[in-house]
């Protein structure tokens, strides 16, 4: 009883929709504080000492915009699968970068939302991990209010196989 109730919630398309809005707006918010000040963001990324010199500025200019576009597309439900995968990859990347720097004991701040920022730590790792769980839920169960999910055919047209017992 409780198990089936939990299952219904976890696999719910409405939950996926709520999470979609949440994760999407989170990324929009995160991107908007970085987009206007690429130099500061580049500095924050440089502090992680993981991105090679020649890639730093391109990354600092491009990454916030990928956050912005995939966040927006996710909320709109446009190419939402590709967007949610990109967001998932970014979350994994952030977590790996933070973990490595925690291992090094680097005295740096996150650079996630603004240049002052919170120091990196387990809190940040956990936040990203939870967000990653949301992303997985969205990837598998998001069906509600989708404009174009992605893939080669439009899944809205796909009717679940009904076999002979259709009437």
């Amino acid at each position: 009883m409780i198990r089936s109730f939990l299952k219904a919630i976890i696999t719910s398309q409405y939950l996926a929709f709520v999470l979609r809005i949440f994760v999407g707006s989170f990324f929009l918010y995160a991107s908007m504080s970085k987009i206007p000040y690429p130099a500061q963001f580049a500095e924050a990324v440089a502090n992680y000492r993981l991105v090679p010199y020649w890639l730093l500025n391109v990354g600092a200019v491009l990454l916030p915009w990928i956050e912005f576009v995939s966040g927006l597309f996710l909320i709109m439900g446009f190419m939402s699968r590709a967007s949610v995968i990109l967001i998932g990859l970014m979350l994994i990347m952030f977590d790996v970068m933070v973990l490595i720097n925690m291992y090094w004991g680097a005295p740096i701040t996150c650079g996630c939302y603004d240049t002052v920022g919170e120091p990196i730590g387990w809190r940040k790792i956990t936040e990203n991990a939870v967000m990653l769980i949301f992303v997985v839920q969205i990837y598998f169960f998001d069906r509600f209010l989708i404009f174009r999910r992605g893939g080669l055919t439009d899944p809205a047209r796909i009717k679940v196989a009904s076999s002979a017992a259709r009437r």
Binding site: V51, V69, A161, R167
Partner: protein, 309 residues
């Protein structure tokens, strides 16, 4: 029922997919027992799980056959129009309705009750064969559809590269345009100060110079790194606040004094950039410490950790 009504019904039955192959006497028998029914749009005629009590033939209008999946989402199975029949499945199998039916456009229906249907089957046993044939045809259509859907579902489960290209492409385009027009924009590929313009010295030489020639060691890393650890006696001069630090502590410095700059990472060559700036301010004896703090520490030379700012 007037004679012309009977004619009409007979004609409609004779045109419908299931009844058209039935012999004339069966049709006659059916004609005398069907009821006509007009149903307004958005009406549910029956729901999945209801007992199957009658068969419907559509004369006019449209209906939608659908089912709800476990999560409550409605899945359309078919849209039926004039000439189509629905509801015979439950009558033949004796089980409950396997799907729900909703009227889309005002539907003129003919209803054949279960008793009458059973009686026709009993009185005209050949009718059963025709129904079986119809069932088989549907089964084959469904199988074909199943195949197509399986392929489509497989394709949809994959994400196409095209989508990634679009998302990343749109981001790139916006990023370039915005960076170009943003007053705070940054060069995408910054120029490194020329290598070779600034002499590079090893830790040993640097130590020598610090001890004997009164060389000044400058840490170019951001101050949080400096605070964590730096060469003993080094002055911190982060690039971000170069001008402030310069005016406060460097302006009166002898331009001939030996200066050793260190501090660079994979992401930023702070040391080279700082050395370059110092050269431009007129300092003549600027050099860069090879390997930076790491090489220095490895040699066991003096460092300060967690110094007070």
């Amino acid at each position: 029922m007037t004679l012309s009504d009977r004619e009409d019904i007979l004609n409609i039955l004779a045109r419908s997919a299931v009844f058209r192959d039935l012999p004339k006497d069966t049709l006659d028998a059916a004609t005398s027992v069907v009821r006509t029914l007009v149903v307004p749009p958005r009406t549910i005629i029956f729901r999945e799980g209801d007992p199957g009590d009658s068969l419907y033939i559509i004369n006019k209008g449209k209906v939608r056959i659908f089912r709800k999946d476990s999560s409550g989402m409605e899945i359309d199975l078919a849209t039926l129009g004039p000439g189509n029949t629905f509801g015979e499945m439950a009558l033949l199998s004796g089980e409950t309705r396997s799907a729900s039916v909703e009227v889309l456009e005002e539907a003129h229906l003919m209803v054949l009750a279960k008793n009458d249907f059973d009686r026709i089957l009993r009185d005209f046993p050949d009718t059963a064969k025709i129904f079986f044939r119809e069932m088989r045809r549907r089964l084959l259509t469904d199988e074909k559809r199943l195949e197509v859907e399986a392929v489509e579902a497989y394709r949809a489960s994959r994400v196409s590269w095209f989508d990634f290209v679009v998302v990343v492409g749109v981001s790139m385009l916006l990023a370039m345009i915005f960076n170009y027009s943003n007053p705070n924009g940054i060069p995408l590929f910054p120029q490194l100060p020329e290598r070779g313009r600034i002499p590079v010295i090893s830790s040993e030489v640097a130590l020598e110079e610090v001890q004997h020639d009164d060389a000044l060691v400058v840490d170019a890393m951001p101050d949080n790194f400096y605070k964590k650890g730096h060469i003993r006696g080094a002055v911190n001069m982060p690039l971000g606040i170069f001008d402030i630090v310069y005016t406060m502590t460097f302006a009166d410095e002898n331009k001939e004094r030996k200066i050793i700059v260190y501090g660079g990472t994979i992401s930023k060559h702070y040391d080279m950039e700082l050395a370059d700036k110092l050269l431009m301010r007129g300092f003549k004896n600027v050099s860069i410490l090879e390997g930076g703090l790491e090489a220095w520490e490895k040699k066991g030379y003096p460092v300060e950790e967690k110094a007070k700012s």
